[in-house]
């Protein structure tokens, strides 16, 4: 019941918020850093867009391939459980009883449960995957869509901090507009992101702004020092 609630409300929103807050943070900080080191908005915009391309591919395609790896990992563990259930059934049955011992179930019931579960090998293996290994069957379609949404949201988020540099003539002016716009967006996204899982959305909003501003400030100081 809780699980369903977690899922329905937030899948797309969650992806968008993950991609967008990262997209807001890193290109913002990069642009801020360069603002202290170069004299042309074109260079900052070029660097910002190169970063957006790189980051969205790393996040989107990287996430997609990681999802496929998870699915393969699940399949290989599943195969191993099937083999173990065939080759060392007593050991696997004992593992079932151990899971329930932890929760104070009596030896008699542990034993009865192991007997019942082990009658159907498919269900037995499913049970071991979830209760012994804590692995959920990965949803590959969902992972694919999710990666795409995250990558695209990174792009959209990344464009926000660059707006200031499009609208102005110098990096200094660009940085001012960029900071105002990005902090506003970070606040909103931090709020939405936290609202999904917690009752303290303002706290989350400040945290998100804090990470962005700290990253931008640090990048600015270090870029100044080396340029």
């Amino acid at each position: 019941m809780h699980e369903e609630k977690h899922f329905t409300a937030s899948d797309l929103v969650r992806d968008v918020v993950i991609g967008m807050s990262d997209g807001l943070t890193v290109p913002f900080a990069l642009a801020a850093g360069l603002s202290g080191a170069v004299s042309s908005n074109i260079i900052i915009i070029t660097a910002g867009i190169a970063e957006i391309v790189a980051g969205s591919i790393a996040m989107g395609l990287g996430g997609y391939l990681a999802g496929k790896t998870d699915a393969e990992h699940y399949q290989s563990e599943l195969k191993r459980e099937f083999e173990e259930v065939e080759s060392v059934p007593e050991k696997e049955m004992q593992e079932v009883t151990e899971i329930f011992r932890e929760y104070g179930v009596s030896p008699k019931l542990q034993y009865e449960l192991a007997i019942e579960l082990c009658q159907d090998k498919n269900k037995w293996v499913d049970f071991m995957m979830r209760f012994e290994l804590g692995m959920k069957r990965p949803d590959v379609n969902r992972a694919t869509k999710s990666s795409f949404n995250i990558g695209l949201s990174y792009v959209i988020g990344g464009i926000v901090p660059l707006i200031g540099y499009f609208l102005t003539q110098t990096p200094k002016e660009g940085l001012v507009i960029s900071t105002i716009v990005t902090v506003m967006f970070l606040f909103i996204f931090g709020y939405v992101k936290t609202k999904l899982t917690s009752t303290k959305p303002f706290y989350g909003a400040f945290k998100t702004v804090f990470i962005g501003v700290l990253a931008a400030g640090a990048a600015y100081v270090i870029a100044r020092l080396i340029s």
Copy 2:
């Protein structure tokens, strides 16, 4: 048993590999993109270092704060389960029986298990957290260390693609050296990363190189077009 194996071997290695492969990919692609658009290695190095600072803070501090949020989320769900166990115990008991029904356990045994599990409220709630909600008690210390390791590994990984630009005079030369060095590193890290969870490490190595090269190529083309 499997779980233990997953844990002991790989915690630090996993963190290092996560941070380092991302650190290798995004600064590499950013530098490659700028190589097609600017004429000075200093600008590329400055942008690269600004990105490393931004990315490592976003990944490290972001990961740390996300870990704290997970811990808070766990606590709030835990509190809710305790409340539900107090206020609607019959409903929660029925949820226990439903978990077992899925796996073909007989109604009689479902009921007996529910009775036993529900005798100790702490264990009952622990059981619901893990088997109904699929939530593990987050290890906050581990999450803190992990974030630090990932952030630091991002920095170290990010410096690798910049070496080429330190050693040469022009972006073109820098790009050649950077690509050779980074592809080598990506291959090694892809190999190690995949080795941890899969039996096809070469496949993983090629996948990791592929993401890096695609990100760098795309950043290069787009930066050339806009500059």
